[in-house]
């Protein structure tokens, strides 16, 4: 804006030294802004929201439709069966982006609130939290080999040998 105003006031020719300095200044300003934005994004990265695919063991084929409400009840220990089929929920480790997205989507809770929920439920003898696994590979292997297992992976991952139950969001 300054450069435009200056040129209007002085009516300098477009290819004059003043105008060239003005264009350099605008270019420098854009570069500085981009550097500042890059620093901000590095220090305060925006939350990564990933689509999550809910997978299940092939034994759940006869379980019928599984929606978010049923998943919420399974992962909070309030349901241990679907249509008479026993289910075994499995989580990724706390802090995993897919876990955070999954918990937020089906329970509308943060992972911290979910952990707190299970601390109480376990302490009052109402069950133990789902098994936690470290990697996507372990998750897929567990779901594939455990009857009734229900887990989730990032949608970008490709898997085989498991049943796709639901895609989130």
């Amino acid at each position: 804006m300054f450069c435009i105003s200056y040129s209007l006031l002085t009516r300098m020719p477009e290819n004059s030294v003043g105008m060239r300095n003005c264009r350099n200044l605008r270019r420098t300003g854009r570069v500085a802004t981009m550097c500042l934005l890059a620093i901000i994004f590095v220090l305060f990265p925006p939350p990564v929201s990933a689509a999550v695919t809910v997978i299940g063991n092939q034994s759940l084929g006869a379980a019928g439709e599984i929606d978010k409400n049923i998943l919420a009840r399974i992962f909070t220990g309030r349901a241990v069966q679907i249509s008479g089929i026993s289910v075994m929920p499995v989580n990724m480790n706390a802090g995993d982006p897919a876990r955070s997205d999954f918990i937020r989507d089906i329970l509308q809770q943060s992972d911290d609130d979910y952990i707190s929920y299970w601390i109480v439920r376990r302490a009052i003898g109402r069950g133990t939290p789902p098994v936690e696994l470290n990697t996507v590979g372990e998750m897929v292997d567990y779901v594939r080999s455990t009857p009734g297992a229900v887990g989730y992976i990032d949608t970008s991952q490709t898997v085989s040998g498991v049943k796709i139950l639901l895609s989130l969001p």
Binding site: Q81, S86, I124
Partner: protein
């Protein structure tokens, strides 16, 4: 005091672990929780067994360890032990068996548990030892003191109905326990513990969602039978003296008595605030030293990032103050053994409370498994409160508390 029956439950659990049904792949997990907490008041009269102007770590500190065994989706077993100040004397710590139970869940809606259970109609009664699971530095003692359903050996049957986003659970239980009851004699300045066999049952209705909203309504009935051959004092008598005076007569005793407890509570969000409130009433049958009591609290908290400040008000009301005044006002006759100390002891035996408390505090969640808590509590005592070991009337007592709570 040894409880030979206690560890039988642990043995039962071990057998369950070994001979579990369909235990083709048992999943074991160990967890635990604890609190390192200090409290100090501005009054030399001890309250809640430990808190006075000398400071204490005994009131709030404990360590709990829990072993869970999951045999399959229907069968599981749990045993929980805590190390905390003894419940049968005021000094020393001891391990206490809190839970040892076998769970059978035949379907989503039914849960059967057998063994040592901790049941109750208060919102946080079952998790009151797990400090990291709530934000208050200490659950209001005006309400939680009167809770009658501690850990007992028995059976619990729960049925759940799913209504949209809410679960409605009806929990019925029955069992036995050996409980240690404490009294403090203001005259002799000593505490006494006496054991009682308790049997009873409870019915609790809970409505909860997947978040923190919970409403609870409960009733329990207990029969308390002192182990001592003479039973416990049920009625004071008085002997008239010349000049309009009177003194204590020979009290009447009973071998046992029924206690009815009623609970009503709720916890729900109001905008960004969380409101929790509970009310409990304990109605003994024909036991003058334990007159009917009603207590309640209301608490408002606000979660701001990792901080959760709160403000709580709690109050107790007890009938029986007239009887207490009459006992305390008896004329001593030392020649007959009715000394002033004996009169003071007889009066302080009565569980009468005239007190209220304001609690201002905050928790800071270092992580979901670690919490720091700080609280300033102002307790006003009216004419008498059995929560204090000693004569205290029409006084305000400040208590400052700080604790570190964790789970693993």
């Amino acid at each position: 005091m040894k409880r030979p029956g206690l560890w039988k439950q642990a043995v039962l659990c071990c057998f369950a672990l070994i001979f579990a049904p369909n235990a083709h792949a048992v999943e074991y997990s160990v967890s635990g929780f604890g609190t390192v907490g200090g409290a100090i008041s501005d009054n030399s009269t001890t309250m809640q067994r430990f808190i006075n102007d000398k400071g204490t770590f005994s009131r709030d500190s404990l360590l709990g360890v829990q072993l869970d065994a999951k045999f399959n989706e229907k069968w599981s077993a749990t045993t929980q032990v805590i190390v905390a100040p003894r419940v049968d004397e005021d000094t020393g710590v001891a391990p206490q068996l809190k839970w040892t139970l076998l769970s059978y869940r035949p379907s989503n809606d039914w849960l059967i548990r057998v063994g040592r259970l901790s049941l109750g109609g208060l919102l946080n009664q079952q998790n009151m030892d797990v400090g990291v699971s709530y934000d208050m530095a200490r659950l209001p003692n005006e309400v939680y003191l009167l809770s009658s359903s501690y850990d007992f050996d028995g059976i619990s049957l729960a049925k759940t109905w799913n209504a949209s986003q809410f679960d409605i659970t009806l929990d019925g239980s029955f069992g036995f326990q050996k409980r240690d009851l404490r009294s403090y004699g203001n005259g002799s300045q000593t505490q006494r513990y006496y054991s009682a066999d308790v049997s009873g049952g409870a019915l609790v209705l809970t409505v909860s969602d997947l978040d923190r909203t919970m409403y609870r309504l409960g009733w329990d009935m207990m029969y308390v039978k002192p182990v001592a051959a003479g039973g416990f004092l049920s009625k004071y008598t008085f002997t008239q003296l010349p000049g309009g005076l009177y003194t204590l007569g020979m009290p009447q005793y009973t071998s046992g008595a029924f206690f009815h407890s009623f609970f009503l509570g709720g916890r729900f969000p109001v905008g960004d605030f969380m409101v929790s409130s509970e009310c409990t009433a304990v109605i003994p049958e024909n036991v003058e030293p334990a007159p009917p009591s009603i207590s309640a609290y209301v608490s408002l908290s606000y979660k701001w990032n990792k901080w959760t400040p709160y403000l709580t008000y709690a109050q107790m009301w007890t009938s029986g103050m007239d009887t207490w005044r009459k006992v305390q006002g008896a004329t001593p006759i030392p020649q007959l053994g009715i000394t002033q100390a004996a009169i003071d002891d007889a009066a302080s035996l009565m569980a009468v409370y005239e007190q209220n408390s304001w609690m201002l505090g905050t928790s800071y969640a270092i992580s979901p498994k670690q919490k720091l808590k700080a609280e300033a509590m102002l307790t006003h005592v009216g004419e008498r409160s059995a929560m204090f070991d000693g004569p205290i009337a029409h006084e305000n007592v400040m208590v400052y508390s700080l604790s570190y709570n964790f789970s693993f």
